[in-house]
């Protein structure tokens, strides 16, 4: 690792630092919702999701200069989500706990705009899919959160999880298949 790799924003010359801060602000504005959504679906409550989002952006700021240099112009969203992913894993390890609230309890799957009486059956189906999602193995559930809550493609998810594109494609396929089979079993 070269000395330059350790450069923190504060040690840059003022002009470079101002440019870096502007770029970070753009990144932050573009992806605050992504990081918060991911944190929320991982930890299951808004309070811890806010803490995790704050920690993720602080850590991102500290390493932003280096990440930008090494990204070769590729989007930085997977890198940000990877930071949040690692922080969420540490969150459980440090506190030896699972989410205080499960996805099933925390995420109201029915947004207000669906509020018609005709939606009752759909509401039940959504609760069912959330309940099954909650019981998936961690890596499958996380990949599905990235795909459906954040709209990330396979390549982005692969970078965020530190896996190959092929392995990620298989992971998502298996996750959907497992959900589908378990929901079919319930219907029978």
């Amino acid at each position: 690792m070269s000395a330059q790799d350790n450069v923190e924003p504060a040690s840059l010359d003022p002009e470079a630092k101002a440019e870096l801060d502007r770029a970070f602000e753009d990144l932050y504005r573009a992806h605050l919702r992504d990081v918060y959504s991911y944190a929320y679906y991982r930890v299951g409550n808004p309070h811890d999701a806010e803490d995790l989002t704050e920690q993720a952006f602080l850590q991102a700021y500290r390493h932003f200069d280096r990440a930008r240099r090494e990204s070769d112009g590729r989007p930085l969203r997977p890198w940000l989500i990877r930071i949040a992913h690692n922080l969420a894993s540490n969150y459980y390890r440090d506190r030896s706990r699972r989410p205080q609230t499960s996805l099933e309890e925390s995420a109201d799957p029915i947004p207000a705009r669906h509020g018609t009486e005709a939606i009752a059956e759909g509401r039940e189906k959504l609760r069912e899919v959330i309940a099954h999602l909650d019981r998936l193995p961690d890596d499958r559930r996380e990949a599905l959160i990235m795909r459906f809550a954040l709209g990330m493609d396979n390549r982005e998810i692969a970078r965020a999880l530190g896996r190959s594109d092929g392995a990620t494609k298989v992971l998502i396929h298996r996750a959907i298949k497992q959900l589908q089979e378990e929901m079919s079993d319930d219907d029978e």
């Binding site: 923190e8 924003p9 504060a10 040690s11 801060d21 932050y28 605050l32 919702r33 992504d34 918060y36 959504s37 929320y40 679906y41 808004p46 806010e50 989002t53 704050e54 952006f57 602080l58 700021y61 995420a107 799957p109 947004p111 759909g122 189906k125 959504l126 899919v129 959330i130 999602l133 599905l144 959160i145 795909r147 459906f148 809550a149 954040l150 709209g151 959907i176 298949k177 959900l179 589908q180 929901m183 079919s184």
Partner: protein, 114 residues
């Protein structure tokens, strides 16, 4: 494609549709943006202040003096003197220990001879 594969494929699409509906992005609360911006400005400001305080602690003449290699002799001499003193202490300690060990060995030899 067999009948069961076909229905499995359709089921997959159905699950994906349900997942899209269930896992909607969540808008962060308003207060989070403010909180984050405050934290980030505090971090950058603290880092900048630390640097400027460090620079301010040294007067202009001290900074000039630091740049002059002729003034490096004194700190180098101080480090040298410090190292020499530490070395001397080490030698004294080794001597003291070997003296004690010798005394101990003599005492046990004397005990055995009695």
């Amino acid at each position: 494609m067999t009948m069961s594969e076909s229905s499995s494929f359709a089921g997959g699409w159905k699950v994906e549709h349900l997942l899209s509906d269930a896992l909607r992005p969540i808008e962060p609360p308003e207060r989070l943006s403010g909180r984050l911006e405050d934290t980030l400005s505090a971090v950058t400001q603290a880092a900048a202040e630390e640097l400027s305080e460090w620079a301010e602690e040294l007067s202009e003449s001290e900074l000039r003096a630091l740049r002059d290699p002729r003034n490096w002799v004194r700190p180098v001499a101080a480090i040298g003197a410090g190292s020499a003193a530490a070395g001397a202490l080490l030698v004294l300690e080794i001597r003291r220990r070997s003296h004690q060990q010798a005394k101990g060995r003599l005492r046990s030899l004397a005990d055995r001879l009695r």
